[in-house]
């Protein structure tokens, strides 16, 4: 196996992990270019959009290598982004060699999430309860928002698992969360329906696409920025539609 092939695999694996788990476009491009330069390749260019990575570099005396990969999934796991960042930093500074970098990247890719999934459900409940209070609810609204936030989080994970359609999962999660909130308030647990529903929906907010859209547009990755913004908009719209359906049916 030629050295450039191997380095290409390492770079693209690093880029794929970062892009999948929510890194900004400029960070992926910069990481790939730095790693390839650190391995003494010339003429390094990378072009990253929200859904794919192109990387090309020149091996002295042999010729150019160019490869692209398609990235389908976009998930929320910033811990993996920071771990890959660390591996690339150590590789660039020469602390680890190519084989070790590859092994560590494969390990990061296969590793489970930083927090088990029930902790994430519980955190969604806490976030829901906290925000229902912050947005003007009373102390008695915290508990129903907590329950409905957990329901919304569980349903977004489960629908994603079985149907594998992100926007529909978010729509159904907003619908079920909104329905739970309306039901709990109807039975006298909690007073301000509006604040309970707002709190319930907060854990579904597409924070990473929103943030990355601003960051990408700012640093000149216009294609990636606009597409991330579109993703965030569609997610927000599907959440709004889901809760609008719940309100229309049950109120």
């Amino acid at each position: 196996m030629r050295r450039s092939d191997k380095m290409m695999d390492i770079c693209l694996l690093a880029g794929e992990i970062m892009l999948t788990y929510g890194a900004e476009t400029y960070r992926v491009e910069e990481t790939l270019e730095r790693m390839a330069r650190a391995a003494h390749f010339k003429n390094v260019h990378s072009f990253v959009t929200t859904t794919g990575i192109f990387l090309s570099f020149e091996e002295e005396g042999i010729g150019d290598t160019m490869q692209m990969i398609r990235v389908d999934d976009r998930m929320q796991d910033l811990n993996k982004v920071s771990l890959v960042n660390q591996v690339s930093r150590q590789f660039v500074s020469g602390e680890i060699d190519e084989d070790e970098a590859y092994d560590r990247l494969v390990m990061i890719e296969k590793a489970p999430m930083n927090y088990p999934v029930w902790v994430i459900h519980f955190a969604s409940g806490l976030a829901g309860g906290g925000f229902s209070y912050l947005f003007g609810g009373g102390v008695r609204d915290v508990f129903p928002a907590f329950i409905a936030g957990i329901i919304a989080s569980i349903s977004v994970v489960k629908f994603q698992e079985y149907l594998k359609v992100k926007f529909f999962a978010e729509f159904m999660a907003a619908f079920l969360g909104g329905a739970t909130a309306i039901g709990l308030v109807f039975f006298g647990i909690g007073q301000n329906l509006d604040q309970v529903i707002i709190g319930t929906l907060m854990p579904l907010v597409p924070g990473i696409p929103l943030m990355n859209a601003v960051r990408d547009l700012m640093s000149g990755d216009l294609v990636a920025g606009v597409s991330r913004g579109a993703e965030a908009t569609i997610t927000s719209l599907s959440i709004a539609t889901g809760v609008a359906l719940a309100i229309g049916l049950f109120l």
Binding site: N79, A123, M218
Partner: protein, 147 residues
Amino acid sequence: MLLELLFCFIATVSFGVIFNVPNKAAVLGGGIGVITWVIYRVLPEYDVTIIFATAVAAFVSASIAHFLARRYRLPGTIFSIPGIIPLLPGSKAYFTMLAFVDGNYLLGLEHGIETMLQAGAIAAGLIFALSIFSFGKGIGQRYETSR
């Protein structure tokens, strides 16, 4: 107010967990969230509009996030996403949706414009902080004056 800060801290740390940030960064992000919320709540009491207060809060939290990112050598988004979350116009977006569902389009547009303005203020604060932390490194130029 103290209870509000406690809830803000819990909610922001939970958002860190939802986005799977490293453990230490989740707690620090909670601290940033509390600072953001204090600025966002205190400034309107001194006759500052809510939009401007949002921009200032976003700027401060993004600056702290960049600083911590340098310090701990982690990607900046890990700190700035949980820090920004309390500013998101969730309740205004909800009332926009509610007004449109009721067929009350004028009120919906009113709330919708407020939502957009607040989102724009967050973006403005973020971009300003980012620009300050990129002086000299350069992001985008207009004229090639050095040739």
